[in-house]
C-alpha cells in the first residue's frame, strides 16, 4: 500500500514539475515532503544514505562550478573572446556564426549551459548590431550549440553530473566516450547552420568598419583577476582529468577550485555567489529525495527486474530505445528530473551486464538522448528558454515554433548521428 502511495505522490509531483503549474522547486519539495509524511524517508535516508538520499556530490559540484563561473564572469573574458573572434572573421556572417557557435560549445563543455548563453548572448547582440545582422539565427544557434557542447563532459550538463555520480563514471570516461561524438556533432551542426540559417548571412561590407572599431581589450575589467582565474580554471580542469588517479571526487575538485578563486579574487560574497542558482540546488535536493523514496519502497528494484528480463542481452535495442526515448521526453519535459528518475533503472540494466561494454553504453545512450533531446523544442532545455528571454528583452521575439522548427531538425539529426556512433563503437564491432 505504501508503495502505491509513494508512486502516486511521485507521479503527482512529476506532473506538477512537467506542467509548471507551480514552481518546480515547490513541486519537488512537496514531493519530498510527501515521502517524509508517508514514512519512507527520514533524516538518515535523506541526508546520509549514499544510494537513496540527496547526492551531495552533485549538489556541491554544481555549487563549486557556479562559484567559479561567478568569478570568471567578472573578468569579461567571454566578451573579449567573442569580439576578438568576430573581428578575425572580418564580419563575414557565416564565419562569425561558426566562431560564436564554437566558443559557445567549448565554453558549455566546461561550464553550465545556461551561464554560457547568458554570457555570450549580450556580446552576440552587439556584434550583430554592428554588422546590421538579424541576431535571432545567431542566438538560436548558440542555444543549440550550448546543448551540444555541454554533452561532451561530466560537468557540461546537469544530467551528465547525475549520471556520473550515480554510475561512478569519471571525467575521463565522459571525455573518451562522449567528447569524440560531440566534436563530430558540432561539425554536423555547423553544416546544418549553413543550411537552416542561409537567409541570415547577408554581408554588408560597409558595416564591417563598425565591427572592426570595437576594442575588445576594453572589456577586460581586471587583467590580474583574469590571469588568476585562468590559472585556477586550468588547475580545475587538470583536477577533473586526474580525479580518479588522485582519488578526489569531481565535487571536491570544483569546491577546491571555487575556494581558490574566492581567495585569489578578493571578491565580496554577493559577487562570488552571484551565479549560484539556489533554487536549482534545492530542486535537485527535492528530486533526490523523491527518487530515493521509489528505491526505498522497492519500486525501482521491481521495475529494474522487469526491464532486465525484457532486455535480456539485447543491449543495442535497449540503447536505441533509451537514446530516442530520452531525446523525445527531454524535448518535452525537463531532462533533470527525467534523468534522476531513470538513472537507477539504467543502473540495474548495466549491473546485469556485469561490466560488458555493450551494457555500459546504456549510460552514453541516456546522456546523449537527454542532453541532445533538449534541443528539440523551445522549452526542451533551460538554455533555450534563457536565450528566448534575452532576445525578447532586446526586442527580438522568438516564437515557440520558430525555435522548434530549427531545434527539432538539429535534435533529430544529432540523435541519428549519435545512434550510428553508438552502434559502430559499441555494437557493430563490439
Amino acid at each position: 500500500m505504501t508503495a502505491v502511495l509513494v508512486v502516486a505522490a511521485f507521479a503527482a509531483a512529476y506532473v506538477l514539475i512537467a506542467t509548471e503549474r507551480i514552481h518546480r522547486v515547490a513541486a519537488a519539495l512537496s514531493g519530498a515532503a510527501a515521502m517524509v509524511l508517508l514514512g519512507v524517508v527520514d533524516a538518515r535516508v535523506a541526508f546520509f544514505s549514499e544510494k537513496t538520499g540527496i547526492d551531495w556530490n552533485v549538489i556541491f559540484l554544481l555549487l563549486g562550478m557556479m562559484v567559479i563561473v561567478s568569478v570568471l564572469k567578472q573578468t569579461g573574458v567571454f566578451d573579449y573572446l567573442a569580439i576578438w573572434a568576430a573581428k578575425r572573421t572580418r564580419g563575414r556572417p557565416f564565419a562569425t556564426m561558426v566562431m560564436l557557435v564554437v566558443i559557445t560549445a567549448v565554453a558549455s563543455a566546461l561550464l553550465d549551459n545556461v551561464t554560457t548563453v547568458l554570457l555570450i548572448a549580450p556580446v552576440t547582440l552587439l556584434v550583430c548590431d554592428r554588422l546590421g545582422l538579424a541576431p535571432v539565427p545567431f542566438l538560436i544557434a548558440e542555444a543549440l550549440a550550448s546543448n551540444i557542447g555541454g554533452t561532451a563532459t561530466l560537468i557540461g550538463d546537469p544530467p551528465n553530473i547525475i549520471i556520473a555520480s550515480r554510475a561512478g563514471l569519471t571525467f575521463n570516461d565522459f571525455l573518451v566516450n562522449l567528447a569524440p561524438i560531440v566534436i563530430i556533432l558540432l561539425v554536423v551542426f555547423i553544416g546544418l547552420c549553413r543550411l537552416l540559417f542561409r537567409s541570415a548571412f547577408t554581408y554588408d561590407p560597409e558595416r564591417v568598419a563598425a565591427l572592426m572599431a570595437l576594442d575588445e581589450r576594453e572589456v577586460i575589467k581586471d587583467r590580474g583577476l583574469l590571469l588568476r582565474s585562468g590559472i585556477v580554471l586550468v588547475a580545475v580542469m587538470v583536477g577533473f582529468v586526474a580525479h580518479s588517479a588522485l582519488h578526489i571526487q569531481p565535487s571536491m575538485v570544483a569546491l577546491l577550485g571555487a575556494g581558490a578563486l574566492v581567495a585569489l579574487s578578493k571578491l565580496d560574497p554577493p559577487e562570488f555567489l552571484e551565479e549560484v542558482e539556489w533554487p536549482t540546488l534545492v530542486f535537485f535536493m527535492g528530486l533526490f529525495v523523491m527518487v530515493g523514496a521509489l528505491v526505498e519502497v522497492g519500486v525501482i528494484g521491481r521495475l529494474g527486474t522487469l526491464l532486465t528480463d525484457a532486455v535480456g542481452d539485447q543491449y543495442l535495442l535497449a540503447s536505441s530505445a533509451l537514446l530516442w526515448g530520452s531525446a523525445l521526453l527531454s524535448g518535452i519535459v525537463d531532462n533533470i528530473p527525467y534523468v534522476a528518475t531513470v538513472t537507477p533503472l539504467v543502473q540495474t540494466l548495466v549491473d546485469a551486464g556485469h561490466g560488458a561494454g555493450q551494457a555500459t553504453a546504456l549510460w552514453w545512450a541516456l546522456a546523449l538522448g537527454a542532453d541532445l533531446g533538449g534541443n528539440a523544442t523551445a522549452v526542451g532545455a533551460s538554455a533555450n528558454v534563457v536565450v528566448i528571454g534575452i532576445a525578447a528583452r532586446n526586442g527580438h521575439r522568438i516564437s515557440f515554433w520558430q525555435f522548434t522548427r530549427y531545434g527539432s531538425v538539429v535534435a533529430a539529426v544529432t540523435i541519428a548521428v549519435s545512434w550510428v556512433y553508438l552502434w559502430l563503437r559499441f555494437y557493430a564491432f563490439g
Binding site: A121, V123, L126, D129, L214, V219, I390, N394
Partner: protein
C-alpha cells in the same frame, strides 16, 4: 513653504512630442526629467532622464555594462540617432506606469513633497492646482530645488 511657492515653471511635453526635442530640452535646461501631460492638459506621467538613457542604451549593454567599453564615440553618436523619428511615447516604459504619479497639490508642504519624491524614487514632482475642480499643472519641483530649501545654508568661507 508650500508646493505653490517651491514650484518653478517647467516645460511640459505630450506623448506625441518629438523625442529629440524633449531630450534636448532636458539637456539644455539641466532638468532631471520632464512632465508628460495628456491631451486634457493633466499630468500623464513623468519622463525621468534615466528613462531616456534606457531607451538609448541597448538592453544587452545594460545587461553587460562591460560591453560599453568596447564601443567608440561614433557608436554613441549612432545610438543617439535613435531619437530621430521617435516620440516621447517611445521613450516611456512599456506599458507606462500610470498607477501613481509624482504629483502634489499646490498646498502640499515641503516635507509632503519630499515624501512623494522619496517613495516614488522620482527626481521631480509636478505641482497641480486642484482648486475649482481643475488639474492644471502650474510647475514642478526638482530634487535640487527641494534640497536647497530643506538644507541649512552653507557657512560662508
Amino acid at each position: 513653504m508650500t508646493a505653490r511657492k517651491l514650484a518653478q515653471p517647467f516645460p511640459l511635453v505630450t506623448p506625441d512630442t518629438d523625442a529629440m526635442q524633449a531630450a534636448q530640452t532636458m539637456a539644455a535646461q539641466h532638468l532631471p526629467g520632464l512632465i508628460v501631460c495628456g491631451e486634457d492638459g493633466r499630468p500623464y506621467t513623468i519622463l525621468p532622464g534615466s528613462q531616456v538613457l534606457r531607451f538609448l542604451i541597448p538592453t544587452y549593454v545594460q545587461d553587460d555594462p562591460g560591453l560599453a567599453g568596447a564601443l567608440d564615440e561614433e557608436a554613441s553618436d549612432e545610438l543617439c540617432r535613435k531619437l530621430v523619428h521617435s516620440t516621447v511615447r517611445d521613450l516611456l516604459p512599456q506599458p507606462p506606469d500610470l498607477d501613481e504619479l509624482p504629483v502634489v497639490d499646490v498646498d502640499a508642504t515641503s516635507l509632503e513633497v519630499a515624501a512623494v519624491m522619496a517613495r516614488m524614487h522620482s527626481p521631480l514632482v509636478a505641482v497641480v492646482d486642484e482648486h475649482d475642480g481643475g488639474n492644471r499643472v502650474i510647475g514642478a519641483i526638482t530634487v535640487s530645488r527641494l534640497l536647497d530649501h530643506l538644507l541649512p545654508p552653507r557657512p560662508a568661507n
